[in-house]
């Protein structure tokens, strides 16, 4: 650290002492500047790494998903990967993103207007600066997109040659000066320089103390507006292309109608929710009216969505839809049980019991155990052989031994067979193999949830419980009307984490899946990994990964809206 410290000093000393620099780095202003430099230097490695492996890949994945990419970079195919994954829903999804960006732009613009009106200012000059900055962002993105294939191509060019630094620098130079790349670079750098030049020149003449706010917000609003426009336009052209293709083959392509009805369904759902919540706090007649209307809208939207969805996703990827179905079963099977059991355990542990520490350590064990190892153990406990521990127990109690992890049939079908009832296929439920994985997940995560619940219980002040007890509430009443509502933020947090976790679940499922289970345990993430690792369809897998991302974002948003309004933050 001290060595690095000296190197910072040397930056100041090493330059030729040309007066202005000395001025810049000494004195009070200089000290501040040196402080900034230290700050940037300290965050530099982390920022570079997180950008390279955490943020840049998102844009890169988008780029990959728009290409045919089987191990090697293929031609640009537009929305084909998305269309083959989720059919026409892809267009709905991208229009949704465009609408979201437009909404962001409008909201930011409104914020600026309010602020300006409040302080009686007219920040018109920021419109110019903001549009220049937004333009430079857009042009930079375009430059990167144009540059990407050239830079990626370097890897192929050095094949078989001796990898030297000179060769790399030469090839990189060629890539940067390629015919398609250079003009894009010039355009970007011009606008970029112009934007900063004007900002610096005009900065002093802007007196407002809120100039920083105005500049960042206008830039943000204009950038997202531009993004919304570009995405909407791109989706539109892709849609036209898809319709034209369909016409040529003589098939009907009701994409437009589908989009309209899906969008209408979603909007109605939103309105119904708004009405339902706004009914709270009004007089009773209005509550009744609002709730009735909300219910009506809800029914219409549900009918629209459920009626239209199968047609919209008809040509989508079968594995993906099965993965989604499996994930939903997995969520429904894991989250409620996991939360219920851990709530009971935490509540009992919270009573003064001896060996509280011991129990906590023991409950937490499955969670810290490496997932692959504990999954291997479950793999054998729930083995298909007649002598596996679970089958031994079942036969001991007079049951029939099962195939467990190798059983693709639904649990309700099996139960029905046992009881002599014919269960229809739609009611088959999760496969027995998936049930084993659900049991594994509950076993693993109960300890974690218990610890978090314990922390939540510790935050409830004892006075409330005591005063309720003095008022004559019994223990169940205290639990139901005081503890549970006060724990709702914890429950909310845990359920969100758990549901998102089921969509991200990978390790234990990858270990416990078996070809004989016919993919009935493959959750969303496993399907994506398979598409990527086994089938090597990179573009397709990337498109699927974005669908996963969209689902997780939507879940978080809906969870925030729905549960956030019901959670009681003491």
């Amino acid at each position: 650290m001290q060595q690095a410290d000296r190197s910072v000093e040397r930056v100041g000393e090493g330059f030729p002492r040309t007066g202005w620099l000395q001025n810049l780095l000494s004195g009070r202003r200089g000290r501040r500047l040196r402080e900034y430099l230290t700050g940037y230097l300290m965050i530099l490695p982390s920022v570079v790494l997180i950008f390279t492996f955490g943020l840049f890949p998102v844009g890169f994945a988008l780029y990959i998903s728009l290409h045919k990419w089987k191990i090697k970079h293929g031609p640009f195919v537009g929305f084909k990967n998305y269309a083959s994954a989720i059919d026409s829903l892809a267009y709905v999804l991208f229009f949704g993103v465009a609408v979201g960006l437009a909404y962001l732009a409008i909201r930011t613009a409104r914020e600026i207007l309010y602020k300006a009106r409040e302080h009686n200012e007219r920040p018109w000059i920021h419109l110019l600066l903001g549009s220049l900055h937004a333009g430079s962002v857009v042009l930079f993105l375009r430059y990167v997109v144009v540059l990407a294939p050239e830079v990626l191509g370097i890897a192929d060019k050095v094949k078989g040659l001796e990898r030297t630094r000179e060769l790399f620098i030469q090839l990189m130079g060629e890539a940067l000066r390629a015919e398609s790349v250079w003009p894009a670079f010039l355009q970007w750098i011009t606008i970029f320089a112009l934007a900063w030049l004007l900002t610096i020149v005009l900065w002093r003449s802007i007196a407002s103390p809120r100039r920083n706010f105005y500049l960042t917000q206008t830039s943000l609003a204009l950038t997202s507006a531009a993004g919304a426009f570009i995405i909407a336009w791109f989706t539109w052209t892709e849609m036209q292309k898809a319709i034209a293709d369909a016409w040529e083959t003589g098939a009907e392509a009701p994409i437009g109608i589908q989009i309209v009805s899906i969008a209408a369904g979603v909007i109605l759902l939103g309105i119904a929710w708004k009405l339902w919540t706004s009914a709270v706090g009004h007089t009773s007649d209005r509550v009744f009216l609002f709730r009735g209307l909300a219910a009506l809208f809800l029914i219409i939207s549900a009918w629209l969505l459920i009626g239209e969805l199968p047609a919209v996703i008809e040509a989508g990827d079968k594995d993906l839809w099965q993965g989604l179905q499996v994930t939903v079963f997995y969520s429904l099977g894991t989250v409620p049980f996991q939360l219920g059991i851990s709530l009971v355990l935490a509540y009992l542990l919270f009573q003064a019991v001896r060996g509280k520490e011991f129990f906590r350590v023991v409950y937490f064990l499955p969670y810290v155990t490496p997932a692959v190892a504990s999954a291997v153990v479950f793999n054998l406990i729930f083995g298909q052989r007649a002598s596996s521990p679970i089958n031994a127990i079942i036969t001991f109690f007079g049951g029939e031994h099962q195939k467990w992890l190798l059983e693709p049939n639904g649990i309700f079908t099996l139960l029905g067979k046992y009881l002599g009832i014919d269960v229809p296929t739609w009611a088959a439920g999760p496969s027995l193999a998936l049930v084993v994985i659900i049991i594994y997940s509950i076993w693993t995560y109960v300890g974690y949830d218990t610890v978090i619940y314990l922390a939540g219980l510790g935050n409830i002040s004892n006075e409330i419980n005591e005063s309720a007890a003095i008022d004559g509430a019994n223990r169940w009443q205290i639990f139901r009307h005081i503890t549970l509502p006060l724990l709702s933020p914890t429950t909310y947090f845990l359920s969100l984490i758990a549901v998102i976790g089921t969509f991200k679940a990978f390790n234990h499922i990858y270990v416990l899946r078996h070809p004989m289970a016919l993919g009935t345990v493959d959750t969303f993430s496993v399907v994506i990994f398979d598409e990527f690792f086994t089938k090597t369809r990179f573009g397709h897998a990337s498109a699927m990964a974005f669908v996963l991302f969209a689902i997780i974002l939507a879940l978080t948003y809906v969870n925030n809206k729905v549960q956030g309004s019901r959670v009681f933050y003491g």
Partner: protein, 351 residues
């Protein structure tokens, strides 16, 4: 907290309360039992012979470990009778060749291990097999090395960044921090594919060997938003007075960080260390992608392939491998249990 322990004037629990307490303990013990049973079975099966493990018995009749010493030449004669060179196994996935000669595996009802002039017999032989034939000794060293390289980078970079975000007021600080935080929402499946392509590119152009080597397994994890976040929360709590005093004494940021902040932040660094170990013991998808040979295979991937291919239907070996995988993490967990659980309940995050 103590509202259930209401006592009668005589100092004894009421009968109904006593019944309630019994019920509480029954439920808690049932929960503990369910958590522990798989571990107990794993341990027990890891000491069995193959036949015992395949049957439904709960304990082994094998001794733990016995050693027999033979004089030179005598042993080879003993082993050469009626035993095939390689033991082959058929199961649902097809025929597997067990990488084990008759020398190591003599008889299905007893387990032997032959080393030089002596023969070992007993349950612990399963561990000897997993350790040397199953390559778990290598996987373990690989995982430890991967963890330490990742951890070193992560700690150095994150401590610097967290300090800057907590203590230095540079322009764009909140914006940059917000952007970094937002990257925590991105699911790993989205970034995995492009990262794989990036690393292929780095491998082709660069002087560094990425695949089947430490860079691909460690460098992408050195920049950790979670670590920065955790440390920043901690650094922000350090009183300003300390910093002011240091500044009056003429200490620079680096000196303050090195002399004052670091000695104070042993707790979060410990937590990050444990989380880093757990993280690299859990990693499966990414190491599967970037390791084609066993040279740098971490322990989770090692166990995965061991169970999938080498150990086949030899449940006893599988369980021995699982025990070897789990033990280091359990030791670490028991040592740091208190701080670890506390940090989990404070941040609610695993890393």
């Amino acid at each position: 907290m103590d509202n259930s322990a209401v006592k009668t004037p005589g100092g004894r629990y009421l009968f109904s309360q006593r019944l309630g307490r019994v019920f509480i303990y029954v439920v808690l013990i049932l929960g503990a039992f369910a958590s522990i049973v798989p571990f107990v079975w794993m341990l027990s099966a890891s000491l069995m012979t193959r036949n015992e493990a395949l049957s439904s018995q709960l304990t082994t009749k094998q001794p733990l470990l016995e050693r027999f010493v033979y004089s030179e030449g005598e042993l080879d004669e003993l082993l050469s009778e009626n035993i095939p060179d390689f033991v082959k196994e058929t199961d649902a996935l097809g025929v597997h060749e067990l990488k084990m000669t008759a020398r190591e595996y003599a008889n299905q009802s007893e387990i032997y291990w032959v080393a030089d002039d002596s023969v070992y017999r007993g349950g612990l032989v399963n561990y000897l097999f997993a350790w040397s034939e199953g390559n778990f000794s290598e996987f373990l060293t690989n995982s430890v090395q991967i963890t330490f390289i990742t951890l070193a980078g992560q700690l150095i970079f994150s401590i610097m960044a967290a300090y800057a975000f907590a203590r230095i007021n540079f322009p764009g600080r909140n914006l940059i921090f917000g952007i970094l935080l937002s990257s925590m929402m991105i699911p790993g499946m989205v970034t995995m594919i492009p990262n794989f392509i990036s690393i292929t590119w780095f491998q082709r152009i660069g002087p560094l060997q990425w695949f089947d080597n430490w860079p691909a397994l460690t460098i992408p994890f050195m920049g950790s938003v979670f670590a920065i976040f955790l440390l920043r929360q901690f650094f922000a709590q350090i009183p300003d007075d300390l910093f002011d005093a240091a500044q009056i004494d003429g200490a620079s940021h680096w000196q303050f960080l090195w002399r004052v902040v670091l000695p104070l932040s042993k707790a979060p660094i410990l937590v990050l260390t444990v989380l880093s170990f757990i993280g690299s013991w859990n990693a499966l998808a990414w190491p599967l992608l970037v390791t084609k040979t066993p040279d740098w295979r971490p322990i989770a991937v090692g166990l995965f392939y061991f169970v999938d291919a080498e150990a086949g239907s030899w449940l006893n070996f599988q369980m021995a491998g699982a025990v070897v995988t789990i033990i280091p993490i359990l030791i670490l967990y028991f040592l740091t249990q208190r701080q670890f659980t506390e940090s989990i309940s404070r941040t609610g995050l695993k890393g």
